[in-house]
């Protein structure tokens, strides 16, 4: 079966309104970043105990969505599920946009984003950030080549580049997890599981995002899309969600078992204010348990509204997961005087930092997400990303 791809018209008032809204949100985000750069990070919720706030959580979230989208395109190109071939271009295009968004989140969060060239000219192989500069850049190049091959319809090349892309995406994700996993001093960061669990949450959130994007795009452009294809993707999604659950369980029972980590683990799971809320409410309930119930339900799991609800919840839940990877480990005080009770310190030693998300950080995150949206809707108009129709292949 040949799939025909065609650009969208992109002249309707509804389309132009969407472009205008996304452009305004993007400008809002850029303005917030400019304020952070010129005024300093004191306008954010970050401080010397929590130097990484929402922007880093957003960065790892975008990286996850990117790798997840790429893995999804590989279902057709590498694992031979030909019925998903029509989605390949969109998935790879989104993977490229989302890695750019991740890099933008990181770079605009720096104190000196004007020194963007430095990581490329001063390589420091022992730093995971430096290694990731290399991993992310090559990943972006692989994505562009992959997309070009899909456009050029050089079918013989699709599988090899798909394999390279998936292997590299695993590297990108392990590298991202290790940014945190290698930090020996922070109890809630230091873990060998962070790499693998990052990949699992990437696959689940990326799949959920692509499901939502496909449904929205096909509905609004009034192009036919067989429900059975979305149900098929949802079957992958529910497996990925179970894998995430398994990793989260292993990681937290391991920490709960060690008396030295009782305090840190109790902080994360029970008395850390917003963090237990994000863990039990955001990740476990919204992100994992309810979507699993819906997707494994014999009727709901095959209905489009059910899949939409589960996907939205999963995308939100993984954002909560990224938040609790980045923040509680900093908010929980460092054990810099072991065995002693800290009575007072001018520098918040031994105290919880009580990080609060600030408006500039939210604006930056929303702005970068809007830029991805903008590049996507404009991409639909400029490139033939979207198939005329997506139908189940007759067996």
């Amino acid at each position: 079966m040949t799939t025909y791809f065609r650009t969208i018209e992109g002249r309707s008032p509804r389309y132009l309104l969407l472009v205008a809204i996304l452009a305004l949100l993007s400008l809002w985000g850029l303005w917030a970043s400019w304020m952070m750069f010129t005024r300093g990070h004191n306008i954010t919720g970050m401080n010397n105990q929590v130097p990484w706030g929402l922007p880093i959580a957003m960065a790892v979230y975008f990286i996850g969505l990117s790798a997840g989208s790429l893995v999804l395109s590989a279902i057709a190109s590498v694992f031979g599920q030909k019925q998903y071939k029509p989605f390949g271009r969109i998935a790879v295009y989104m993977a490229i946009l989302l890695i750019i968004a991740a890099l933008a989140s990181i770079i605009l969060d720096w104190g000196r984003p004007d020194r963007i060239i430095h990581p490329f000219i001063y390589f420091q192989p022992r730093s995971m950030f430096s290694v990731n500069t290399f991993l992310y850049s090559i990943y972006m190049v692989i994505g562009v080549i992959y997309l070009w091959i899909l456009f050029a319809e050089k079918d013989a090349w699709v599988k090899p580049i798909g394999i390279i892309a998936v292997v590299w995406a695993i590297g990108v994700h392990t590298g991202t997890g290790m940014i945190f996993g290698f930090i020996n001093a922070r109890e809630l960061f230091h873990s060998a599981l962070l790499g693998p669990s990052f990949i699992a949450a990437a696959a689940s959130s990326g799949t959920a995002l692509i499901i939502l994007l496909l449904l929205a795009t096909f509905r609004y452009t009034e192009r036919p899309l067989d429900d059975s294809l979305i149900v098929g993707l949802a079957k992958y999604l529910r497996i990925f969600i179970l894998v995430v659950m398994y990793f989260i369980f292993c990681e937290n029972v391991t920490r709960s078992y060690m008396p030295a980590l009782y305090h840190a683990e109790r902080f994360l799971l029970f008395h850390g204010g917003q963090y237990p809320l994000a863990f039990w409410g955001g990740l476990v309930t919204v992100g994992l348990v309810i979507p699993s119930i819906i997707l494994f339900h014999p009727r709901w799991g095959k209905s489009i509204p059910g899949i939409v609800v589960a996907s939205v919840m999963q995308v939100v839940g993984v954002l909560a997961e990224r938040y609790i990877i980045v923040l509680p480990g900093q908010d929980f005080p460092l054990e810099n005087l072991p065995g002693k009770i800290i009575v007072s310190s001018p520098f918040l030693d031994g105290q919880f930092a009580h990080y609060q998300v600030s408006l500039p950080e939210i604006a930056q995150g929303v702005g970068i997400a809007a830029m991805v949206g903008l590049a996507y809707v404009i991409g639909l108009k400029v490139f033939a990303l979207l198939p005329q129709e997506a139908r189940e292949i007759e067996h």
């Binding site: 300093g40 130097p51 310190s345």
Partner: protein, 245 residues
């Protein structure tokens, strides 16, 4: 604009960006200063021993001297105030324990996590063991602040007009900094400002010197059973020792 033109333009932009990057690299490398190996030598390992029994309750001479000497930014907001050395009050977890105080500062670890994680090698170890930050290279990613187990890293969160010591350069906001063991004073053959201030206050709780010189006072104190480093289990080999902790 058709797709072909669009793609061509994109490719041209990418090639241009790489070219500019390569050019910038050449310029920066050629302009890089010569390493000052003449001053710093791996024959020395600068370090410090702090005797807490001599550290007087309520005294903040070391921290005050450091702030003045190095123009360490202070805003009156504990969330963003910078401390290159700070006084922390603590007690033992036993009934009726007496409150004591401890100065905490950069430990100038041999295996410094801040230097390991720095993506641009802006944080580096000098040959004599001093941990320094090249503030012209730092991108402000704050990974070093995350990695330091001693919480000795600071990020400059806000611009400040305070400039108490005109002989010492002021910093812009947006970069990381931390104790540099008063490297400008060491190189002149003087003691770090904190150590000098402690001696001037007649407490003499801080001893500074070359850990590799067996005849030095610090080496003698480290050789006693009373000197310990903080968090030895991390294996970082700090150069700051405490007695009476």
């Amino acid at each position: 604009m058709d797709r072909r033109t669009f793609l061509k333009m994109g490719a041209a932009t990418a090639v241009g960006a790489v070219g500019v990057g390569a050019a910038v690299q050449r310029i920066e490398l050629e302009a890089a200063p010569l390493p000052s190996d003449e001053a710093a030598s791996s024959k020395n390992r600068w370090g410090m021993v702090i005797d807490l029994d001599k550290c007087a309750r309520g005294c903040t001479s070391c921290a005050d001297a450091c702030r003045t000497e190095n123009n360490v930014p202070f805003y009156g907001n504990p969330k963003i105030d910078n401390y290159w050395i700070r006084i922390v009050t603590f007690k033992d977890p036993i009934p009726n324990a007496q409150e004591r105080q401890i100065p905490l500062l950069c430990n100038h670890c041999e295996y410094a996590p801040c230097a390991h994680v720095c993506p641009v090698a802006a944080t580096f170890k000098r040959a004599d063991g001093v941990t320094l930050v090249d503030k012209h290279r730092c991108i402000g990613c704050r990974y070093c602040v995350i990695a330091c187990p001693y919480k000795a890293r600071n990020f400059v969160f806000q611009h400040t007009e305070e400039w108490v010591n005109p002989d010492f350069p002021k910093r812009m906001h947006g970069v990381a900094e931390g104790c540099h063991l008063c490297v400008h004073r060491i190189d002149r053959g003087e003691q770090p400002a904190c150590v000098q201030a402690c001696a001037d206050a007649e407490h003499g709780a801080m001893t500074f010197g070359d850990l590799k010189d067996p005849s030095s006072a610090v080496a003698g104190l480290v050789a006693t059973s009373r000197a310990h480093v903080l968090r030895p289990e991390l294996g970082l080999k700090p150069a700051v020792y405490y007695m009476g902790l």
